[in-house]
Symmetry: D2
Subunit: 124 residues, 4 copies
Amino acid sequence: MTPPSPPQAVRSLDELRDRLRAFAAARDWDQFHSPKNLAMALIAEAAELVEHFQWLTEDQSRILPPAKAAEVANELADVLIYLVRIADKLGIDLCAAASAKMDRNEDKYPARVVKGSARKYTEY
Amino acid sequence: MTPPSPPQAVRSLDELRDRLRAFAAARDWDQFHSPKNLAMALIAEAAELVEHFQWLTEDQSRILPPAKAAEVANELADVLIYLVRIADKLGIDLCAAASAKMDRNEDKYPARVVKGSARKYTEY
Amino acid sequence: MTPPSPPQAVRSLDELRDRLRAFAAARDWDQFHSPKNLAMALIAEAAELVEHFQWLTEDQSRILPPAKAAEVANELADVLIYLVRIADKLGIDLCAAASAKMDRNEDKYPARVVKGSARKYTEY
Amino acid sequence: MTPPSPPQAVRSLDELRDRLRAFAAARDWDQFHSPKNLAMALIAEAAELVEHFQWLTEDQSRILPPAKAAEVANELADVLIYLVRIADKLGIDLCAAASAKMDRNEDKYPARVVKGSARKYTEY
């Protein structure tokens, strides 16, 4: 008997979505994965990310020691996992949504107007 | 003279990363994009997602009216945008990180043990 | 007929709790105020606070222009309102809880050991 | 020589503010307590609260087992602590701010109009 082959590395959002579907199905966890609950889980992971940076200066946050960078990578992964999961549950195409959002951002923040300023677009 | 061609639709995390780089560079916004600040922006967007669901029942959150679904897609896009931006600033490969995290999740939550239960893995 | 007298200013957490109870009861909103939902509302308000500071430097965050300070006061009020509401729904005494927490903090972070360092207590 | 007397229980927001001031001063931690950093710490604690509820149904969140209720009380305390600390750093009176906010809420959500509905006030 051969052992189960190890899961293949995920290389795209579609592959991650499929792996998450299989993971939840094998554990009968879809029942817990309402968008409401998943949004809560996502923000809890986002907060773990924030926690890594809360007492650092901005400059310190730019160059992390390797052990801390690995923890941050882990938190980013958790956020991505829940993001992909919510999108899947609601039938939303994340790349298309991000693409459309960037189209709007290009309109709202014309480069020649906002250059070098962090003021919110509503102030222009 | 021809007008600038419209930006191409983003089809992968790498393409989104590149578009965000160009967007920030054209506006001279890299100075504001420390990981610390980006983490704050990410969680603010995550909270806008949560806000859509806070007074809905879980069942209501599963089937959104089209207008609300479009707003939620927009919030998911915002979270993804900041996620990709932080990862880029820290040199983290999001797909590799998510893949490694799912490997660990497979170990921590063996399907035959946790099936149908939402108890945290530490309780097993 | 005299008009209703204006609500009295709130001067303590107990008075705020009572005013929130009356407010929710008059609107029949207790049905929406499960601790789960209130926790979501609280973090959404906390994120509006974060949003005010995300592109500011630490120094800028220390001295806010009056208009911005008023908005921040408003966000702090929102967080306090949901905090008092959750505590009330769960029968938790906030002052007693904060008092007990500070007792533990005094033990975990002895002044002579941690003075001037932001390292987490687990690192000591 | 007598040992230091134990800290007195905190009974109001003013007493909590004073205890937090003394705690930070004894540890030379005011340097880390910019409103920006404190807002991050606050939302990280709010997320720990959310985490307790994310896989619970609304009904389960209403009646917590004692051990879980104690943990939730602890998270509420953490949120309150950072809330009081930010308000102190910015010279904001939390009770006055909450009082003013409730005055506005009474106007925005007239009881006879919104009774029993969780629709946002902007929809009215």
